[in-house]
Every structure is written in structure tokens, then in C-alpha cells.
């Protein structure tokens, strides 16, 4: 039986999720050169925000078709609030500080957010079940797609299109591009760079929350630690695609996801490589790929500029 189509789909799904989270890393980095390590937790609180609406706001047994948009809205709201709050109270006071200060702050914030959910969300110390969309899996040829995955398949490209339109066509989007290119000159041209930075954080949080809802639907649970590893992978995806470039984030995510799925599926079949092929080696192969790409294209797959200010 040919499992290649199925493994590609597995990889694309995983990669879409990486990509959605990677957008937040790449936008914030592109504008203020901050690696926002708390972004994984912004993703996580989005999942909890969506779950809260389902558990405590909506009446029991609400159809998922009604609940899902509301959950999505709530998740986005919570993520954006946390991200904007983090920017205002944790990062903005450090705007002029040496590069390492905000980085360490981000790591601290990441731990604080995890522990806050662990301590104060009811039942937060354990995995919490996330509601599922009814309906069996769909078979397309030899490929099986779960109902929960359809959300990801629809939403990830859609988000990407909206983002592209926003960055390229709107006034604010062009302001973001200008700030990324040269914050001082952008300011001279009358762009409110503080506002642009807040918008970058908020936009990243929106996509993270969408990713978190997709995560909940796909794996059926949310947990206070879920953002940590996924955040690291998303950051890797952002670097792979070329950090600072929003298309690069999505492409990097997809490449990373597919690489993980295919290495799990096929490396073991190469003669003499059996012990390097299991799923526990998937991360190793993903990073081998990252190193290879960076060797030949240090700016990442779609990175335009050499990181002159990094």
C-alpha cells in the first residue's frame, strides 16, 4: 500500500500549524528584532480561551457549528489581550535596552504564563479535553482526513491570504513594512511605530489563537505546556523560511512538518539506517534539514535581507 499521499497530508497538517504560530515569531522579529519566546504561551492561552467559552459560557450540548466561531473569537481575544499586555508592560519598557534584556524577559514571561494557567485555570494542571467536531473521518482515495483537520486545511491558507492582503494592500500593512525596513526613517515619515509594533504583536497572536483552536480540534486536548515544544518548532520554521518574512514562516512550517512526517515514514527503509528512522529521530532530521538550508541560504528559504542588524 502506498502511504506517501497520507504521509504528505500528515506533514502538511502538522506544518500548517507550525506555520500559523511561526507568523507571530517572524512578524515581531521583522519589526523589532525580538525573538518573542513567550509566543508559544500566547498560542497556549488562545486554546484555553476557546475552551473556556465552550465549558463555561455556552450552554451544554451546543452544536460545534455554532460554538466554533465563538470559540475562535474568544481564543483570538484572549491571545491578543495577553500579547498586547506583554508588549505594553514587559517589552516596551525595555525598548532601548540591550538585546538580551527583552530576550530573557520573554523566557521569563513564557514560564510565568505556563505556571499561571497551571495554577489558576480549573483543572489546568492536567490535560483538558477539547470539544470535537462530530462526523467520521473522510476517505479520499488512500488518504484519511479527520474532521478536526478540515478546519486546519481551510483556515491555514485562508489566514495566509488575509495576512498577505493586509501587509501588501492596507495602509497599516505598508506602515509595518516601512517600520521593518528602517524604524527611524519610518517615524520621520509620520508612521506611529509604537502602534505598528502593537499591531504586529496582536496580528501574531490572532494567528497563534487560530493555530491553538486547530490544535485542540486535531489532538482533542489542551494543556498548559502545549505551547513550549510547538513554539520552538514554530520558531525553527520561521528561521527556516527566513525570519522576518511572513510567507517564509508559512513555507518553513510546511517544509518542517513534511520533513518530520517523511523522515518518520521512510528513513528506516534506507538500508543501514533502521535505527535512525523512528519518530523520536524526526526532530533530528528536521534540524539536519535546517542546518543544510542555512548552510546554503543563511537568510532562510525566502529571506530577502541578510540580517544586517542582528
Amino acid at each position: 500500500m502506498n502511504e506517501l499521499p497520507q504521509q504528505l497530508v500528515n506533514g502538511l497538517l502538522l506544518g500548517s500549524m507550525y506555520g500559523l504560530v511561526a507568523i507571530g515569531y517572524t512578524m515581531v522579529y521583522g519589526i523589532i528584532q525580538l525573538i518573542n519566546f513567550a509566543h508559544g504561551e500566547i498560542f497556549m492561552v488562545g486554546g484555553f480561551g476557546a475552551l473556556t467559552v465552550y465549558l463555561y459560557v455556552l450552554p451544554d450540548g451546543t452544536s460545534m457549528w455554532v460554538a466554533l466561531p465563538l470559540m475562535l473569537l474568544a481564543g483570538i481575544l484572549v491571545s491578543v489581550l495577553v500579547a498586547v499586555g506583554a508588549e505594553r508592560f514587559a517589552y516596551r519598557p525595555l525598548r532601548g535596552a540591550p538585546r538580551l534584556a527583552p530576550l530573557i524577559t520573554a523566557i521569563g514571561l513564557s514560564l510565568a504564563l505556563q505556571q499561571a494557567v497551571w495554577a489558576w485555570y480549573p483543572g489546568g494542571e492536567d490535560s483538558l479535553n477539547f470539544p470535537q467536531i462530530e462526523g467520521g473521518p473522510f476517505e479520499i482515495g488512500s488518504v484519511t482526513i479527520q474532521t478536526g483537520d478540515i478546519f486546519l486545511f481551510v483556515v491555514a491558507p485562508l489566514s495566509m491570504a488575509v495576512l498577505a492582503w493586509f501587509v501588501m494592500r492596507t495602509r497599516t500593512g505598508r506602515g509595518m513594512q516601512a517600520t521593518a525596513q528602517d524604524p527611524d526613517t519610518a517615524k520621520l515619515m509620520g508612521i506611529n511605530t509604537d502602534r505598528i509594533i502593537v499591531i504586529a504583536f496582536a496580528l501574531g497572536a490572532v494567528f497563534a489563537a487560530v493555530g491553538a483552536v486547530a490544535y485542540g480540534l486535531k489532538y482533542g486536548q489542551v494543556q498548559f505546556r502545549m505551547g513550549f515544544i510547538l513554539g520552538l518548532k514554530a520558531f525553527t520554521a520561521a528561521v527556516l523560511g527566513g525570519i522576518g518574512n511572513v510567507y517564509g514562516a508559512m513555507l518553513g512550517g510546511l517544509v518542517l512538518g513534511v520533513a518530520e512526517a517523511l523522515s518518520t515514514a521512510y528513513i528506516a527503509d534506507i538500508p543501514g539506517m533502521a535505527q535512525f528512522g523512528s519518530q523520536s529521530w524526526a526532530n533530528v532530521w528536521a534540524f539536519v534539514l535546517l542546518i543544510l538550508v542555512l548552510l546554503f541560504r543563511p537568510q532562510g528559504l525566502l529571506g530577502e535581507r541578510v540580517a544586517d542588524r542582528a
Partner: protein, 409 residues
């Protein structure tokens, strides 16, 4: 000032020491004054009597107490009265070691029952072994305690004074293999583990036995316990044509793994060891986890014909707490010490010898009797020869015992 406080501390210590000696001698006197004119032998009990695991710990304590009461009533050892000294280890290795030291210091203690946790046992073993004081655990399952840390490759018994009536983790894999091959008629297995000591060991012992029986391993994989996405592995399982998945690892990964394997279209059960025998597994695996299996050491006492008398006696004794999972094994552990003491006393013309502890430890090796959980005796490592295990299945959102059995190698 400094001098004064030093004097005060010395005085306090001296007073304390005197009080303790006084206590000790009073106990000794009490022992020799006992009605039947014999001596008192104390059996120490170490278990978590407070905290999360106290239900299990109190069951151990009560069952040990019951064994001594019955021995005294039957005058099982002529001239010897048994009593227990139960101490709380709060499931902490440090508390366990402190208790062990206390037991060693009391010359009347000739054997100790406990502890519940393997980690606590590790901290106690050396203390007891140095004092040649025998320890019988009703609940420790870590193979390293009796067979050395390198037990998968070369077995070597680290401590001669340590015995247990509990079955070890090491026979879970083979037991599951026999159940799947003989009872469930599974022939093609996909083996997955998490590369940790427990999981990889379990998967290896399972694979060996399953192959020996004639089954086929159609695929293997190792997962990364830090991730949640096992879809690529699930696809491999589906395409391998396996009729069962064996997972060596713990429930936080086993639950999502089971769910994703079923979602990928492979409607086959996932089987694991006691690491997945948890209510959380059922929660994580979701509704599709129905029919998944787990093995765990020991057997529910209610299902053993040999345990009827114990259950009745326990009820009559009127203990507040239930005997719980390890009650039967605790009773047998205590009784093994009583048997060993009996042997030593009989060999020494009805009196306890001066080196009673050493003699009891030696006698323990050859103890053999019909206990609550079946025949009780120990192999060359101090492990129970009676290796009972139980297969549990997920049914309607709960673990149900499917089959208890004895692993015979």
C-alpha cells in the same frame, strides 16, 4: 552565653537519651513479662500512612497487624508474641531511611514489612542489609531492587536482606505477549516504545516472548515523548497490517497515540503495561480507546480462592480502612517473617538465638507456605516465585479486570 546554651543542649540530649533508654528497657521488660512467659518479636511496618497514598499504606499496616494477631491467637510460634510497629514514610525516600534506622536501632525488630514505593525501598535497602535485618515488600515492582540496576543484561542481587511478595515489572511484557497470542489470538504486532528505561525494557521483553510464541512483529517505532503528533507513526501502523499495537511507555503519550492510531483507520487495540493503567489514559484516548488493554502486577484479592479466609478475618477484625490493592501481599509478607522466626526458634530449642536477625534473614530464603495470594516462596534474587498479573481492558470508560493469571516463565 554560648557555654550556657551548650550545657542546656547537652542536658536536653542526656534527658532525651535517658527517656529513650527507659522506654526501651520498659518494652523489653514488658516483652518478657508477657502472659505466656515468652518473648515479644516486633515486626516493623513502613508505608505511607498519610498523604495521597495513605489509603494503600493503611491497608498494608492493617493487613500486617491482622497477620500478627492471628499468629498470636493460634500460638503459631511457641513462646513468641508478635506485635507491629508501624511508621509513616509519606512516600518519601528520606523518611523511609529514617524509619529504617529506627527499626535497626530497636533490637526487638526481627523483620520489616514495606515499603509501598520502589524509590523508598532503594533508600532503605542498605540500612537493613548492613544490620542483616530482613525486609519484605508487598508492593515494590522495580526489577532493579532485586536484580541490580543492570538487570536486563546481567542479573545480580544487590542486597541479601531484601525480599518481596510483589511481582516485578519484568514479567509484564511476556505476560502480555502470552495473553495476546493465546487468548486474543493476535499474530501481527506493531511495537512502539518511548526509549525510556521502563518503556524500552517492557517492549523488549514483550517482543522476545511474542516471537518465541510464533507471533510476527510487523513493525517497530520509537516515539519522542515530548511531542503530541504521532500521525506519521499511526499511518505506519495502519499500513503495516498489524492486528495489535504494543506500547512500552506511560499514559501521557499512550493516550494520544491510541487515539491517533484509531483515527488513522487502524481499528486495533493498543496494549501496554502498568504505565498506562491509569484513569488518565482513558481520558486522553477518548471514546475510541475502548478495548485497549493494560497489564498490571498483582491480582485483585477478591478474585483469588485462597483469599476468602483473609477477607473474612479482615472484616471481623473491624479495621476502619479497606485492605486495598496490597492487603493480601502485606499479609503474606508479614506471615513470611513469622514463618522465618518460627523456623529459627524451633532450630534453637524454642528460644531466640543471639544473632536472631541474621538467622531470620537466612531462613527467609527457604520460607514456603500457602498464603492469601497463593504459594509464597522466594527465588535466588528474593523475588516472589508466584508471579501474579492481571490484564485490564477499557470498557465503557473504565478499566475492568479481564483475566488474572500467574506467569510461569
Amino acid at each position: 552565653m554560648r557555654q550556657r546554651s551548650l550545657i542546656a543542649i547537652t542536658a536536653a540530649l542526656a534527658a532525651g537519651a535517658l527517656t529513650l533508654t527507659a522506654c526501651g528497657s520498659r518494652d523489653d521488660d514488658g516483652g518478657s513479662d508477657k502472659g505466656n512467659g515468652g518473648t515479644t518479636v516486633v515486626i516493623g511496618v513502613d508505608a505511607p500512612l498519610t498523604g495521597d497514598l495513605s489509603a494503600l499504606g493503611l491497608g498494608i499496616k492493617n493487613s500486617a497487624d491482622l497477620a500478627t494477631k492471628i499468629a498470636n491467637k493460634e500460638k503459631f510460634v511457641e513462646g513468641v508474641t508478635f506485635k507491629i510497629d508501624a511508621r509513616d514514610d509519606q512516600a518519601q525516600p528520606s523518611s523511609g531511611q529514617a524509619n529504617a534506622t529506627t527499626f535497626v536501632a530497636n533490637k526487638d525488630v526481627l523483620g520489616v514489612v514495606g515499603p509501598l514505593n520502589s524509590s523508598v525501598a532503594e533508600s532503605m535497602q542498605k540500612v537493613f542489609d548492613d544490620a542483616k535485618l530482613v525486609q519484605v515488600s508487598p508492593a515494590n515492582t522495580n526489577p532493579a531492587l532485586t536484580q541490580g540496576t543492570d538487570w536486563q543484561k546481567s542479573k545480580k542481587r544487590p542486597y541479601k536482606a531484601y525480599f518481596r511478595t510483589a511481582t516485578t515489572d519484568a514479567v509484564q511484557g511476556p505476560f502480555a505477549a502470552q495473553y495476546l497470542y493465546n487468548e486474543s489470538k493476535k499474530r501481527k504486532v506493531f511495537v512502539i516504545d518511548d526509549k525510556k528505561t521502563y518503556g524500552a525494557g517492557l517492549a523488549a521483553t514483550f517482543t522476545e516472548e511474542f516471537k518465541k510464541l510464533g507471533g510476527k512483529v510487523v513493525g517497530t517505532d520509537h516515539i519522542d515523548p515530548d511531542t503530541k503528533d504521532f500521525s506519521a507513526v499511526a499511518t505506519k501502523v495502519k499500513n503495516s497490517g498489524a492486528d495489535v499495537v504494543y506500547y512500552g511507555g506511560e499514559y501521557p503519550q499512550a493516550g494520544p497515540l491510541s487515539k491517533q492510531i484509531k483515527a488513522a483507520g487502524a481499528k486495533i487495540p493498543l496494549v501496554g503495561g502498568d504505565g498506562i493503567y491509569s484513569a488518565d489514559f482513558i481520558k486522553l484516548a477518548g471514546p475510541s480507546g475502548s478495548g485497549d488493554l493494560a497489564t498490571s502486577v498483582g491480582a485483585p484479592v477478591e478474585e483469588l480462592p485462597s483469599a476468602k479466609e483473609f477477607i473474612a478475618n479482615y472484616k471481623d477484625a473491624g479495621y476502619k480502612e479497606a485492605y486495598e490493592a496490597y492487603g493480601g501481599y502485606s499479609y503474606d509478607s508479614t506471615w513470611a517473617i513469622i514463618e522465618a522466626v518460627k523456623k529459627v526458634v524451633e532450630d534453637n530449642d524454642g528460644k531466640l538465638p543471639d544473632d536472631a536477625r541474621e538467622k531470620v534473614t537466612e531462613a527467609m530464603q527457604n520460607v514456603s507456605f500457602d498464603g492469601v495470594t497463593g504459594k509464597v516462596s522466594f527465588d535466588e534474587f528474593g523475588d516472589a516465585t508466584n508471579k501474579q498479573l492481571t490484564v485490564y481492558a477499557v470498557e465503557k470508560g473504565e478499566w475492568k479486570a479481564v483475566k488474572s493469571g500467574t506467569y510461569t516463565g
